[in-house]
């Protein structure tokens, strides 16, 4: 895993290691504490109950759908932000990244006043016979809203790192912009796009606040795994812990996958 661009100087003060260890423990300890509370003899029955499996299935389906939406709208957004030049670009970037720092419940309220029955667009949609509130569509919208910035940030970073040399060459050879995008740009940033998509999926999977506020909670329709955990916690702590562990396992898998896919996803350089 060693990278060629690592410099020879590698002395890290010891106290940094000590603080790093404390930081690592701070994340690991709660997870370990949760694992310790799992009722193992009942684990399989708890996570394979009808309600649990329905919630997991719904979570996976809606997260896949919202990841797709993130790619459809996030790739153009990232391209425009990284390569385009137009007034208000910085403002647009700031607004696209806003859901990263907004409490999800605020996102839920905002979506409610946009797509809700009494909302900005909801009224016209209702006349057209489209009802979004309390539907699986509402879950997907909530997830897309909170996950989109993850894809945009990763991809914009990858685009900036890749530069535009190859595109320029392709253009001088007579390739049209769409051809350049399809044959040069996208293949170049594919690792960044993949890890952005994986992160968006993970964020969608964990979405809770916006969904609860905007979509409601009904088994098989809007009650995703995090909502099921929240509800089970009221009466059955064992079930809540078991389901939490499932979500942790999926999250570990997803983050691991994203690390393997490429290292271009570190958003620091794009977050300015």
């Amino acid at each position: 895993m060693d990278h060629a661009n690592n410099s020879a100087y590698q002395a890290i003060p010891r106290w940094v290691y000590a603080l790093a260890a404390a930081g690592g423990l701070f994340v690991l300890l709660p997870l370990a504490a949760m694992v310790a509370r799992v009722n193992w003899p009942q684990f399989i029955p708890l996570i394979t109950s009808d309600a649990s499996l329905t919630a997991l299935g719904l979570s996976l389906r809606t997260s896949a759908a919202s990841t797709l939406l993130c790619i459809v709208f996030g790739v153009p957004l990232a391209l425009v932000l990284a390569r385009g030049q137009f007034p208000g670009q910085r403002v647009l970037r700031a607004f696209v990244l806003l859901p990263l720092v907004l409490p999800p419940v605020v996102g839920g309220i905002a979506l409610l006043y946009t797509f809700g029955r009494q909302g900005l667009l909801g009224k016209s949609l209702e006349i057209a016979g489209i009802q979004i509130a309390f539907s699986t569509t509402a879950v997907v919208l909530a997830q897309t809203f909170v996950a989109l910035p993850f894809l945009v940030v990763s991809l914009e970073g990858a685009l900036r790192t890749a530069g535009t040399k190859y595109e320029a060459v392709a253009a001088t050879l007579g390739a049209r912009p769409t051809t350049v995008l399809r044959r040069v740009t996208v293949p170049l940033v594919l690792p960044g796009l993949a890890s952005g998509a994986v992160l968006s999926f993970a964020r969608s999977l964990g979405e809770f606040g916006a969904t609860l506020t905007f979509a409601g909670s009904l088994q098989g329709v809007t009650r995703t795994l995090p909502l099921e955990i929240y509800l089970q916690r009221e009466t059955d702590a064992d079930a809540a812990v078991a389901l939490s562990l499932v979500l942790v396992a999926v999250a570990v898998l997803v983050v691991g996958l994203s690390y393997r896919r490429g290292r271009a996803w570190i958003p620091a350089e794009a977050a300015q």
Partner: protein, 259 residues
Amino acid sequence: MSITRKAVAALFVTGALAAGLAGCAGTPGTPGAAGSGTLTVFAAASLKATFTTLVAEFEGKNPGTKVVLSFAGSSDLATQITQGAPADVFASADTKNMAKLSDAKLLDGTASNFATNVLTIAVPPANPASISSFADLAKPGVKVVVCASQVPCGAATDAVEKATGTTLTPVSEESSVTDVLGKVTSGEADAGLVYVTDVKGAGDKVKGIPFAQSDQAVNTYPIATVGSSKNKELAAAFIALVTGSEGRKTLGDAGFGTP
């Protein structure tokens, strides 16, 4: 997010309690002069308005006392107390969560019931689906939001459904009664099943439609001193206020019934 807030609140409460204990000197005697110090009251979210009023009264009558209120769902509060949260008084929205603490021997003495609450139908002020009875909620196309069976208001909803022989097909089963109310006040739902006190507290944002069968599911609110309380006299004085005539009047004005 809310966990962090709770953690911060717990730290704050601990600090306040420690500071309060230093100057605490309970003097037994007449009610209204039960002593000074800090009292931490964990109360069900539905008691927010009434307990805030009652605490102001209590602090006025007992100069030098400070009451810290923490409102949340009853099961959350019961869990927090089980995990060692520093509460002096616990007021639950159902007997089940109080029984959890009582079974775990975490109470001082026994709990006393101080209020009741029943369900009512809440509709947006314009009543778009023209709801006038419980049976109307089962009409096709009516968007009804209820509480999930796991929480007290949902258990009450199940009981009413059984008693009336009406089966609802809700568009959402929320984890808290405030979420149900929110879906009605925002106009997303045509109707929701909430407590009468929620409708009263929401003012003109929703309209309440009472129904006869609501007495099939009466929620009883118990209150008790927590066993680990360091200020049991003050706790007892507060409970006396809540269960006494003043408490009865404030609770009655908010729509609560007498147990």
